[in-house]
């Protein structure tokens, strides 16, 4: 059984107590280093011996990275804030309830007690060919095992594939994109702020990464501007099991209304492409119109223009259409 086979190979562990020490370690060890947050995604990789970094930098002892605080422009959520802290934070609940709801939709209670928001948005894809250590494009090889007609690709891309057909599995990511959040990334002594839409990268940009984070980079916090605070933000996730599981498709839609009229909106889906996808065509199609059943239906129809499902994931097309429709039509659910 699992126990003996899964002893994790020897690695050098660092548990720095400050961000400065952590970025110094990451600079020193470069691509040999692995950033360790909650550890849920990480330890699976290590146990399966698919990823074998020489150095692990555990951020668990850096208290300042756990803070969630108000700023003049909104909220700043430390990358190491646990999902449960995001779920329970009073200001997130009142200003951005969809974010709390999305965080609560992720994984299981035990994982939310340990998993972090930084880890949730930076986690690797769940494509099982890749995770089982097959030498696919994403693993540095020159083939995709999930895209041939005979492959098991029920959970894979219907949009935006480029050689690799794996999807981004995050639940909080689409909400953060919808809210216009940005990610604060430290590298050495410098800091850069990356808009959420640019934070996630697809295989056409870099097939071996899910985000802009390169060796030496450290995601320190997520800034959520007050732009969409208190507006109508809808999140819904569909998954096979009603707990633990990753999304088949999820949707996050922020709408600012004037009476019945949709003044402005942002529609984002995830689980359908290598990155969370902002559906600007949908936004443009219904901006300025009344929010009703008809508009919602047209939004759903616009959402699925240009999809390219694989052998076993055609169901995701209808799922995406209906989720986008509901996200316009229905009242938001809360945690």
């Amino acid at each position: 059984m699992a126990v003996i086979r899964d002893v994790i190979p020897q690695l050098e562990l660092f548990q720095p107590s400050s961000t400065e020490d952590a970025v110094a370690l990451l600079a020193e060890h470069g691509s040999d280093a692995w950033v360790y947050a909650g550890g849920l995604d990480t330890l699976d990789w290590f146990k399966d011996r698919v990823k074998r970094p020489r150095v692990v930098v555990d951020l668990g002892a850096i208290e300042s990275l756990r803070e969630i605080r108000s700023t003049p422009d909104g909220l700043e959520i430390g990358a190491m804030a646990k999902l449960i802290d995001v779920v329970n934070h009073s200001e997130i609940q009142s200003q951005f309830p969809a974010l709390a709801f999305a965080a609560k939709s992720a994984a299981s209670p035990q994982i939310r007690n340990q998993g972090t928001i930084g880890g949730n948005i930076s986690q690797d894809t769940r494509c099982w060919y890749y995770r089982d250590g097959w030498t696919c494009y994403r693993a540095g090889g020159n083939i995709c095992y999930a895209s041939p007609p005979t492959a098991m690709n029920r959970e894979h891309c219907i949009l935006g594939a480029s050689r690799c057909v794996a999807v981004n599995p995050s639940d909080t990511a689409p909400v953060l994109v919808a809210l216009g959040a940005s990610m604060v990334v430290r590298r050495g002594r410098s800091e850069r702020v990356v808009p959420a839409e640019e934070f996630f990268v697809g295989p056409e940009i870099d097939i071996e990464r899910m985000t802009v984070l390169e060796p030496g980079d450290l995601l320190t916090s997520i800034r959520v501007p007050s732009t969409w605070a208190g507006t109508r933000v809808y999140f819904e996730k569909v998954r096979d099991r009603d707990t633990w599981d990753f999304p088949l498709v999820n949707v996050a839609t922020a709408i600012r209304q004037d009476g019945d009229t949709i003044q402005d909106l942002r529609v984002v889906v995830n689980g359908v492409a290598p990155t969370p996808v902002r559906l600007t065509a949908v936004e443009n199609a219904i901006r300025g119109q009344a929010r009703n059943e008809d508009t919602a239906t047209r939004a759903g129809d616009a959402a699925i223009q240009g999809v390219a499902p694989l052998t076993h994931n055609g169901f995701k097309v209808n799922l995406m259409r209906n989720l986008v429709k509901r996200s316009i039509r229905d009242e938001p659910m809360t945690a």
Binding site: Q10, F14, A107, Q110, W244
Partner: protein, 214 residues
């Protein structure tokens, strides 16, 4: 794996008749315990005394388990479940999937349920770990949740039981009177292959009753 070597060597030392056996055992043990990583590390240089890098971790650490401080030798990538079972002999904590999916390894860390298989022992230094062995009181009285499981026959094979009980204890601490729906949601990170979920939820209700003195 080095721990196994230590224990084998230790046994040899205790049972061995010859002094040579003892000395060999002692050498093997000490090498495995302290120096092999440093002596044979591929990047070298460790034989000369270096200032440890910021955040470098010691292998000998103290972990508080069930109210006792335990001094243990822990490799960097050892999980809490492994440490509990194979270093401390607390085999009540089970390892099922070892992938943060099934919940059999659930233990409490500072009162919060965590998957012990997916938490590094080095991450629980200075924190309170509670396992199924730490639930009964000193006079042997079972925790209400344990008593409830006995009364309601909550499990068939019970491999998943420790994890369910630990998570239920956390639930009852958080909410002494949970509804079945609340309990089901709280326990949704634990799997029971015998599918005894109904009896498990009944046990949680019974534990709440026992706590209320009903």
């Amino acid at each position: 794996m080095s721990q196994e070597i230590i224990e084998v060597a230790g046994e040899t030392a205790q049972q061995g008749v010859s002094r040579r056996g003892f000395i060999k055992g002692a050498i093997a043990a000490s090498a495995a315990v302290s120096s092999s990583n440093y002596l044979f590390r591929s990047n070298g240089g460790a034989l000369l005394a270096q200032t440890p890098a910021a955040g470098a971790v010691e292998r000998l650490i103290t972990v508080n388990v069930n109210g006792r401080s335990r001094r243990i030798d822990v490799p960097p990538m050892e999980t809490v479940a492994t440490t509990l079972r194979y270093k401390l002999g607390l085999t009540g904590t089970k390892i099922g999937c070892d992938r943060a999916e099934c919940g059999a390894c659930t233990v409490l860390v500072d009162g919060q349920p965590h998957y012990g298989c997916s938490l590094l022992t080095h991450s629980v230094r200075g924190r309170e770990v509670t396992t199924i062995e730490g639930l009964e009181s000193e006079d042997g009285t079972l925790h209400p949740m344990q008593q409830a499981v006995l009364e309601e026959q909550g499990f068939q094979c019970a491999f998943c039981m420790s994890g369910f009980i630990m998570n239920s204890v956390a639930l009852l601490n958080d909410n002494p009177n949970p509804s079945r729906k609340q309990a089901a949601e709280w326990l949704s990170g634990n799997l029971c292959r015998c599918a005894d979920y109904d009896k498990i939820l009944t046990s949680v209700q019974r534990a709440a009753e026992i706590t209320r003195g009903a």
